[in-house]
Symmetry: C2
Subunit: 204 residues, 2 copies
């Protein structure tokens, strides 16, 4: 039994959660005790939070960021598929399970774009094997660099300003409107947001 702690909804991330996520983004094998020091908690406390974040689905998995060019020789290509009335879901599934595919994006219009490293020298064959180039049109672009930015600059996971989307740091401000708490990076964003909110409320 511990002192009353107001139950924290798993869907609301507080600043500590964000800090933990950022630290894990930098090095997922960092000991929880080290994280605990930085966020001012105990090791078990951090462990509990991480468990909750996993269960809530915020953390999908701990993984490793590899230099794939050292594993799979091919150059990365960006492929845009203009759907020929095919089943997008099946295609997406096929692609996701194909080894050379690194990212799959589905557009709101139902088209597919993906990043892959097909085997060198037989890119066309490789594409044809999974796309049937006779029925769909593809646009293939050779890439020079593929960059994933989980936390570059150490701020990627920080709270987002409700107005401009930028990072909310310690200089930030908060405001509770209609029971919802919003974060802002600066006072001008806050006033702009509040102003628009009031205007909309007035019109309604």
């Amino acid at each position: 039994m511990w002192h009353e702690v107001e139950p924290r909804c798993v869907h609301e991330l507080d600043d500590t959660d964000l800090e933990i996520l950022e630290l894990l983004g930098e090095d997922a094998r960092r000991p929880y005790s080290e994280i605990a020091d930085q966020v001012g908690m105990s090791g078990p406390g951090v462990s509990d939070r991480v468990d909750r974040l996993r269960e809530a689905g915020v953390i999908e998995r701990f993984t490793v960021d590899l230099d794939r060019s050292q594993i799979r020789g091919g150059s990365p290509v960006l492929v845009q598929v203009s759907d020929g009335g095919e089943s997008v879901e099946r295609l997406q599934e096929d692609l996701s399970s194909a080894d050379a595919v690194e990212h799959v994006f589905v557009t709101a219009a139902g088209d597919l774009t993906f990043i892959a490293r097909p085997p060198e020298g037989s890119v066309r064959e490789w594409l044809d094997d999974r796309l049937d180039l006779g029925t769909v049109t593809v646009d293939v672009t050779l890439l020079d660099e593929v960059n994933w930015t989980p936390s570059i600059g150490g701020t990627a996971f920080a709270l987002a300003c409700a107005e401009c989307g930028n990072t909310v740091d310690s200089e930030g401000e908060q405001e509770t409107i209609d029971g919802d708490r919003y974060h802002f990076c600066c006072s001008s964003c806050r006033s702009q947001f509040v102003e628009r909110h009031d205007r909309i409320a007035e019109e309604a």
Copy 2:
């Protein structure tokens, strides 16, 4: 007691390395002792290999795969920038450090494509802030799904078939041609590869 170990260059990944990477891709916080059991090594042995893989740059970092939609509300967009003679490097750097940007791709032609989650309702503003829409032309596509596949199906890091690029599992076959060792996922890929190789050799 073990059999003679031939010296292994750090730039050549053997099957054990690949297996370790795959296991780490599934769960980067998995204990090394557990990995050791699966690959038939001791805990310290796995630790040594991982250290070497990090130093070699194959492992760039241990990190966490997050459900970003739970952290940063905006919908993901794919933005293709048709370069207006601008400095690609600077733009790329700016974008990489922007909080809402998740991936940046540089094409061989020097164009930029990136995935981001700009603040809802002010996508155009957000874009203009970092791209100067007056001088560059952009193509923005709303995305429905963003899928990163470090190891879906648990086979993404396995050896690639020299013919089709797919995973080589225990059913796979190998063949040494002209001193180079090739891996294949099945006998048909192997025969097809050998056949083509012979034909090319004959023509030369």
